[in-house]
Symmetry: C2
Subunit: 180 residues, 2 copies
């Protein structure tokens, strides 16, 4: 997360004060008085399946290098959430997938992130290792590497997906994952 010690508009030093009419400390420029707001970031990704199996990527980069994850990453400016989820899926797994449907939204307030994860089906196009993934594989729910998952939000999503898949019901849900 960027620490706004200097003003990104004019380069002067900022100070952390509560601006008039506000209730929070903000980095405010001591020269041009621009208020630099800091807001949560949205991570978008796909839970891609073929038949019963789920596509996981083994991370080639830190953090959690070597651990398994769902393809996901920060939404970019001027991109829709679906475009971002598809881009991340292709970047991390090479996979091409069906039109995604919203599946889970998780708040991670301790790190000021939200995860929006879509469900999608794998199309014929083959998946493969990428610059971001050492390995890309389909896992049957019985073989998910629970002890080698990269992030708690990924473990939660997979747990809930396996539960939903057993019932055949995949409605959208919104949950909070707190630090502990």
């Amino acid at each position: 997360m960027a620490i706004n010690k200097f003003c990104s508009i004019c380069g002067a030093v900022t100070e952390r004060i509560v601006p008039e009419g506000d209730e929070r400390y903000r980095a405010v420029c001591t020269s041009c008085h621009t208020i630099h707001y800091e807001n949560p970031k949205l991570v978008v990704g796909c839970l891609v399946t073929r038949n019963e199996s789920i596509l996981l990527c083994r991370r080639a980069i830190e953090p959690q290098k070597g651990k398994w994850t769902l393809p996901a990453g920060y939404l970019e400016n001027h991109e829709t959430a679906v475009q971002g989820a598809l881009r991340e899926t292709t970047e991390e797994s090479g996979a091409e997938v069906s039109i995604p449907t919203p599946y889970r939204l998780f708040d991670l307030p301790h790190i000021s992130q939200l995860y929006l994860l879509f469900r999608a089906q794998l199309l014929a196009c083959p998946f493969r290792p990428t610059r971001e993934s050492l390995e890309v594989r389909l896992f049957h729910p019985k073989n998910i590497p629970w002890d080698a998952l990269a992030f708690r939000v990924i473990a939660k999503t997979l747990e809930q997906y396996v539960h939903d898949a057993a019932k055949g019901e995949f409605s959208f849900e919104h949950h909070v994952i707190s630090r502990n």
Copy 2:
């Protein structure tokens, strides 16, 4: 949206280049080489109802001062989406409401925003004008001021809500609102 002309970490000038392994132009510091990513912002708010009527706020501040809107605003760091939606509702309308349930997610890629709107019921506590709202009122669906709504995303949400309310079905949906 902040234009990162200067590095917020060290104050040096940035240049817009495509960093190695990236595919997008980023503001990169010419001195400490920090990459300054710019990402979409999430707006959270509530569609508050009492019986059939919907709570709207008349904006006391620009943009769209004097126009009607749902209480909503930027999610803050270290806040959950529900906490943010409740905070904005109280700040803009004084209303206290029931636990919100997710209703609509809208992508607005042309302005790099997403709107996450919850449904909630008005509790006994009275609503009132606030620093941010000239007027706060309950509108029966037949009396919604369609010609005086602040933003297209608000008009879309109200249109869809009136449609859903007629059927008595309020499932979560995700849509894109593009510029035109």
